[in-house]
């Protein structure tokens, strides 16, 4: 007779126990199924960081060997030490750093303007099949055309000004970036677009929350290529459009070397141009790419 309450409490307890059991079951299974990740070994990371230096060392060694064997006179093939000395000389004259900085500034500015143009174009063509059918061949044509080909036209249109250089940089970078974004959009797995739709992402929200992050891996490839094209186009433009009004630049430094017949300066300039390109890739794009791949579980480590 006085047992009703007891029975009630027992049922509640049982239910609570079952709930706790369920929580523990879930936690247990989760722990079993997610293996703790092993970090890559330290020696592997060191190898990765220093392996590129091995290539540099080999090239320098072969170059020095050619010098020791006196294969060519030094006005044709100067030694690494002579090239280095020439760069030091440029540095002491206060030319090396301003040249590099001015070129880099133009490259970055040109790349930024390219982005402003290429992103809307890429989105429009990526999302609208009609626009794409009309404009994609043109874009691909522009991408195939070496942008140096535009230098003479740009000089006629804009004279020897920064505008000429930017025009050439833009024509080099915009098609690559826009095309990269379009391929990125094409490669978004349909399930993400469906998920976005089901969650209620429409219009601008869909572009911001789903399309751009979904297209990001392909888009990033386009950005890297766009930067490479921007940098090359810039060097070509600086090399051809030479005027005091344009200020210093690595392309100008290279042209000066050619005019003086100073092979050390020519090689020094080429190496500097390469180093700047590599540094941008290593310090800007590579970390972003690594992060993207790691976040999305695309590198198995």
């Amino acid at each position: 007779m006085p047992n009703f309450e007891h029975i009630d409490i027992d049922i509640a307890l049982e239910a609570k126990k079952r709930q706790e059991d369920l929580a523990a079951m879930s936690a247990g299974l989760d722990a079993l199924e997610t293996s703790s990740k092993q970090k890559g070994s330290r020696s592997k990371a060191l190898l990765k960081a220093f392996a590129p230096l091995a290539a540099v060392a080999i090239v320098l060694a072969l170059w020095q060997l050619a010098i020791v064997l006196k294969l060519q006179p030094d006005y044709i093939l100067p030694s690494p030490a002579q090239v280095f000395a020439s760069l030091v000389d440029q540095f002491n004259q206060g030319l090396l750093v301003p040249s590099a900085i001015n070129s880099l500034r133009r490259g970055v500015q040109g790349f930024a303007i390219s982005l402003l143009i290429a992103v809307p174009v890429g989105l429009a063509l990526g999302l609208n099949p009609t626009l794409r059918a009309i404009a994609r061949p043109l874009l691909t044509g522009l991408q195939q055309l070496p942008s140096v080909a535009w230098v003479p036209a740009a000089i006629i249109w804009f004279g020897l000004s920064d505008a000429t250089i930017f025009a050439v940089v833009l024509l080099g970078a915009v098609p690559s970036i826009a095309n990269g974004l379009i391929s990125g959009i094409d490669q978004i797995p349909p399930i993400y677009l469906r998920a976005g739709k089901v969650l209620g992402a429409k219009g601008f929200k869909n572009i911001y929350h789903i399309v751009i992050p979904g297209a990001w891996p392909g888009f990033l490839g386009g950005l890297e290529q766009g930067w490479a094209f921007a940098w090359r186009s810039l060097m070509a433009a600086e090399l051809i459009a030479v005027a005091p009004s344009l200020g210093p630049g690595l392309g100008l430094m290279l042209d000066t070397g050619r005019q003086l017949g100073d092979m050390s300066l020519v090689l020094g300039s080429i190496i500097t141009i390469m180093i700047v390109g590599v540094l941008i890739e290593r310090l800007v794009f590579s970390p972003i790419r690594q992060r993207t791949l790691r976040n999305r579980g695309l590198i198995g480590r």
Partner: protein, 260 residues
């Protein structure tokens, strides 16, 4: 277990589907043929059928991903949809996936939240699906069962009263699936959602649902429905469930043989 063709009508349905028909072109085969369903608030209905019964088409129509050819859907509530693949966005963490659903939701409760509120609510929902420490993990760091639970949390974040589930556990191993059945029933019980659960697995349907609807294939039509009256939580390996499932499986096989 009792057979019936209409449920009791004491409560006003939350969703009324009337004569829903779908074909992809005027002369194309009928995918879904005169489909009718009343879903009551908090009801758990399972749809079972072989391939080609139009289950996925039905869910797509209900979530507005596709248009019906004819028929009507009467409801004042939108539905959340959960897929077989987890469909979590890989560029977001588990918590951010849930937060995004809150951000995009048109439910007033979700709209009233600021960024901190959304984060707190997302954490709450992850705790509800028994993932209290998963907020900062990326989808690829989670197991299949954990991903589906995050997907449940994300669907719940939309703040809707109807949850559509398209074979959500089909790709999971048996142990995980059993556990997710328990978890789903617990969550259903705690949230009072109305659920339409689509599956190929008759036992799963009987394990979970109050009502199991069997559909024919090509065209997709309702053949019969059963009320499953055993109390929850049920066990998928109990003899009651097995016997109930056997009755439905026999009907399903009859329907499949018809296509031979």
């Amino acid at each position: 277990m009792s057979e019936s063709y209409s449920g009791s009508t004491a409560v006003e349905p939350i969703l009324k589907i009337r004569n829903l028909t779908k074909r992809y072109a005027p002369n194309a085969p009928v995918i879904l043929d005169e489909f009718n369903l009343d879903l009551k608030p908090g009801e758990f209905v399972a749809l079972v059928g072989a391939s080609g019964c139009g289950k996925s088409t039905l869910l797509n129509i209900l979530t507005g991903l596709e248009e019906p050819t004819s028929g009507t859907i009467e409801t004042s509530h939108e539905a959340s949809l959960m897929f077989q693949e987890h469909a979590l966005l890989p560029w977001l963490t588990a918590g951010e996936n849930v937060e995004l659903a809150l951000k995009l939701s048109d439910a007033p409760e979700a709209k009233a939240l600021n960024a901190d509120g959304r984060e707190a609510r997302a954490q709450e929902l992850l705790e509800l699906v028994h993932l209290p420490t998963a907020f900062d993990l990326r989808p690829h760091e989670l197991s299949g069962g954990m991903r589906q639970r995050v997907a449940i949390a994300r669907a719940l974040a939309q703040g809707r009263k109807i949850l559509l589930m398209d074979e959500p556990f089909a790709a999971l191993d048996a142990i995980t699936r059993d556990l997710l059945h328990d978890e789903l029933i617990r969550i259903w019980d705690e949230t009072g959602l109305a659920v339409i659960f689509v599956t190929h697995n008759v036992r799963e349907a009987v394990r979970l649902a109050q009502r199991v609807i069997l559909m024919s294939s090509k065209p997709g039509r309702i053949i019969r429905e059963w009320n499953i009256k055993y109390a929850q939580p049920r066990r998928i390996d109990s003899s009651d469930i097995a016997q109930a499932a056997a009755v439905i499986t026999d009907e399903l096989r009859k329907e499949i043989r018809r296509h031979a």
